[in-house]
């Protein structure tokens, strides 16, 4: 594909080279019409006709220069050796090639040989392209060159600059000589500057706009890159959280294991058959518990019917509430219906929420955490703390991975939200800065269908 593109570019370049070679031969009528306009200007004493002649000449020679420049650009830029050079060397070579071709062609064809104006135009184009930072873009090069060539062509009709070899081409000399005869040098000076200045300014503005555009693209690319990196980091952090949860599970698994080991040692000592049956049942229970925990963790979609007191016991066993300054209150009705969820995971989610409430900075001396559990279509678990609350500006970002107001990993809340939603529940946060935070978890009641 790239090779094909390169070939097309070279073919276009060669076609342009042929075109600029035959173009001067094809414009005999144009040259004749310009001479006729100059003659009419003399006969009628009309300097307006001179401006028309100058405009036609400038348009033709500008187009010629633009085509030659594009041709050089297409042919040279596809050259491997040329491409490897620095921008300054490339620009220098392009200027030399451009002027060399024109200096040869001027002996055979009617072209405008204005080395000073052409050199300045080419240097200006190179500078503006460099400023635009689009040194490898054909489009930017061409757009800037069109404006500069059109601008610089008007410098040739300014009679005041004749003394310094500007506008020494045959047609320009004729136009300026007639302007002297018609006493309209001032008009040509003014017209020349009136076209030159705004066109030059426009080329500078274009280069600056390209530069701004270039900078914006870089910023967008950088942002995109950063966003990707951030996503990657979030994924890694989440992975770490999972390992953390596995650690917690491994810790939990130790409890039934200790039970099994203890009972096993009793089995060796006991000779009472009745006791053996009791120990055996307990070992069986411990193994079942372990099996249930491992299944819950391995199969995240597996759900069990969980009685609220069982869930609370499981949670309470894993929360560090030995701190005397921590008042931990759980209020619930005993006749609450069970929920259906992945026991280990939903417990871990609620533990994360409670741990969050524990570590948050508190307003008074003692930290108070209340857990209210009641029924309102679903099972509602409210975790209320007397912490300092969350500022309004932070509320929108509170569920984002990595966002934390307490220099923690910022994973607790997003992790809990994900688990609760995976189990068909919802979580809401209500916080007032300086008052406290209430987290509401809504979990679906286990229906008969679900139980089945």
């Amino acid at each position: 594909m790239r090779k094909k593109q390169s070939k097309v570019t070279i073919v276009i370049g060669v076609i342009l080279l042929i075109l600029i070679t035959i173009l001067p031969v094809l414009i005999k009528n144009l040259a004749f019409s310009i001479i006729v306009i100059i003659r009419d200007a003399i006969n009628m004493g009309d300097s307006g006709k001179l401006i028309v002649a100058a405009a036609r000449t400038n348009i033709f020679f500008s187009i010629y220069n633009i085509l030659l420049y594009i041709c050089m650009l297409l042919l040279l830029f596809k050259n491997k050796w040329f491409k490897e050079k620095s921008f300054n060397i490339r620009s220098g070579l392009l200027i030399i090639a451009f002027l060399a071709i024109k200096s040869i062609y001027r002996y055979f064809f009617i072209i405008s040989w204005e080395p000073f104006a052409d050199l300045f135009a080419l240097v200006l184009i190179a500078t503006l392209v460099n400023i635009s930072r689009e040194t490898d873009s054909y489009i930017a090069n061409i757009i800037i060159s069109i404006q500069v060539f059109f601008a610089m062509q008007w410098i040739n009709i300014i009679p005041i600059l004749s003394k310094i070899w500007i506008g020494s081409n045959d047609i320009y000399v004729s136009i300026k000589t007639v302007s002297r005869y018609l006493n309209s040098e001032g008009i040509l000076n003014a017209v020349g500057i009136a076209f030159l200045a705004p066109l030059l300014l426009s080329s500078i503005m274009t280069a600056l706009l390209y530069r701004i555009h270039h900078r914006n693209i870089i910023v967008v690319e950088e942002n995109f890159q950063k966003a990707r990196e951030l996503e990657g980091m979030k994924a890694k952090i989440m992975e770490n959280k999972i390992y953390e949860e596995i650690n917690a599970l491994a810790h939990d698994l130790k409890t039934p294991l200790v039970t099994i080991r203890g009972l096993n040692s009793l089995l060796l000592l006991s000779k009472d058959v009745d006791k053996l049956t009791v120990y055996n049942n307990r070992i069986e229970n411990a193994v079942s518990k372990m099996n249930e925990m491992i299944s819950s963790f391995l199969y995240s979609k597996s759900k069990q019917v969980i009685e609220i007191p069982v869930l609370l016991n499981y949670i309470r066993a894993q929360i560090p509430i030995e701190d005397e300054s921590l008042k931990f209150d759980i209020i619930y009705d005993n006749d609450l219906p069970p929920i259906k969820a992945n026991k280990v995971r939903i417990s871990r989610a609620i533990i994360n929420l409670i741990e969050n409430a524990i570590i948050v900075e508190c307003r008074g001396v003692d930290k108070e955490i209340k857990i209210n559990i009641y029924i309102d279509e679903d099972i509602i678990i409210k975790i209320i703390d007397n912490g300092i609350g969350i500022k309004e500006v932070d509320l929108e970002q509170i569920w984002e991975i990595g966002h934390s107001t307490k220099e923690t990993s910022g994973l607790g809340l997003p992790f809990a939200k994900q688990i609760i939603e995976e189990n068909g529940g919802r979580i809401y946060l209500d916080s007032t800065y300086g008052v406290g935070t209430t987290l509401t978890v809504r979990l679906p009641i286990a229906t008969e269908d679900k139980e089945e």
Partner: protein, 201 residues
Amino acid sequence: MKKISLIKKVGLMLLGFSLTLIILYSIDSMEDKSYKGNIYIPNAMVKEDILITSAGQSTDTYIVKDIANKLMLHNIFMPNAEKIDIENIKSVIMVVGYSSIGEYLNNKDFSQEKARVERFIENAKSDSLPIIMVYIGGKDRRDKETDELLNLVAKKSTFIVSTHEGNYDDTIRTISQKYDVPLSLVRDIQEIKAPLAALYR
């Protein structure tokens, strides 16, 4: 900070361009020769009917034709005049100025134009026609080809009229002295009316 350096870059570039133009312009102005007065033409030196022709096919010939018309000088305008065109003609005005486009539009090259000019001058001289050489192309038109034509026409001319700007390097004065042809240098193109009117008065 970057913005300032960018503005500086563009500003310096434009300043450099302007300074270059000013320096070149000043150097060129220093070379300007002081104004030399016209020679006094007491009596008419040549007669009407005039054939106005070109040596080099520049558009300057149209200007001279326009001036002749404004001076009410009876003239025939033939930029490519040959021997046949000098019948019933009393004098010739040859406007010198090489134009590549002019020659291109007349389907000829410089050597062909030079040969025509040589042929025409010989014929005019053999008919004893006075030739007035006019050069109004200024410094811009002065190149190798124009200088060649100036030499060619001047040596058979009766009188030379040129603008000061055209004589910026004193070439036209040197030529006039070399071929002993009286020369009238005028300040600008408009002023060639005066020597032309005096010559045909």
